[in-house]
Symmetry: C2
Subunit: 207 residues, 2 copies
């Protein structure tokens, strides 16, 4: 049974655990490059990485959780959060990155597709995926906290996702990707128009 | 080569062409029910429907175009556009339908997934898919035209998609589907708040 996903991943001290992770993540990326349409199974990844599948099941539980962790790590590495000194500048940079990674490049679109296509798992797999995605969410939250600390009107993260990110992904997944700076500016300004003028007291509850 | 997608589908007079279409659409639905994770290939559909694959290539060109046409037809049949007499009522009904079809039910999520996962095709396939999706768009446009004819402030269709539909799909594809009436009301009212108070003169150009 693959039901140990509630366990936090072990810390990665750069030792054996870290070497296993590098081999496994590399295997996922190679397999996805060979066949971008499919999430590789735990068995395929284990064989390619030369690792016992049991330890993969124990650590990631599910192929979709593993693929999501790889995708989020790639996002974090290749599209770091901007830090321009103003909220508008940061949001424009972040939204432009979101469009870039939704553009036609096979690798980029595969990344978006991993995030979007693996939701069919059970509840534990969903929780594992959400956990990985939330790591990226925490980086976005930190971007918003910096704006708040500067005294800028700061939107709620849920509104950032709904008003800026959602239209970018809708266009990329269902139509053709947005590609011009005008769209980004329009979405970011629509968001900033409803940003609370006072600094946030606390995070808006969001279920 | 499968490059005749620019041709309009033949009219469907209820004759041979219509019988072929029924058999083909039925085969797509059966195959998707058997394996919701994959878009069935033209070859698989032809074999299941007992139809020559050549005629399928000629008419639909690409498996993703065919699957999209099936998905849009199912949308139109199972989630007809509401006509409540007010724009707000219509939009609330339409958005509630969008959430319903993104809920966990295998068939519903498969439908959303067809629409989202088949964009990897070439430009001609993209055009064919867009053409199918735009038929649904025309129904939404008609809903907006009715509101305009009643003299109500009427949003642009692009804003309806960005402000109401995009967040619903983002939640369904990346997180967990929205499920409460509160979300629908919040999104629809956010849209109506920016609806032009004067009747639209003409459709906003949108590339």
């Amino acid at each position: 049974m693959k039901n140990q996903r509630d366990k936090k991943p072990a810390p990665r001290p750069g030792g054996r655990s870290s070497r296993v992770k590098d081999a496994v993540f590399g295997a996922v990326e190679t397999l996805m490059a060979e066949n971008p349409a499919a999430i590789p199974s735990i068995g395929e990844v284990a064989a390619r990485a030369g690792v016992n599948p049991t330890s993969l099941y124990r650590r990631w539980g599910d192929a979709s959780v593993l693929a999501t962790e790889v995708a989020i790590e790639r996002l974090t590495t290749e599209f770091p959060m901007p830090d321009t000194g103003t909220l508008r500048g940061d949001l424009l940079g972040w939204a432009t990155n979101a469009i870039r990674r939704s553009l036609k490049g096979k690798k980029n679109l595969a990344l978006l597709r991993i995030l979007a296509t693996t939701v069919q798992g059970d509840d534990a797999a969903r929780a594992g995926r959400l956990n990985a995605i939330m790591r990226r969410g925490q980086e976005l939250q930190a971007l918003l906290e910096r704006a708040k600390a500067r005294g800028e009107p700061t939107p709620y993260m849920s509104d950032v996702l709904e008003i800026v990110l959602a239209p970018i992904y809708l266009r990329a997944l269902f139509f053709t990707p947005m590609d011009d700076a005008g769209d980004v500016t329009r979405l970011v300004d629509r968001l900033l128009a409803i940003a609370p003028k006072q600094p946030m007291e606390k995070k808006k509850p969001r279920k």
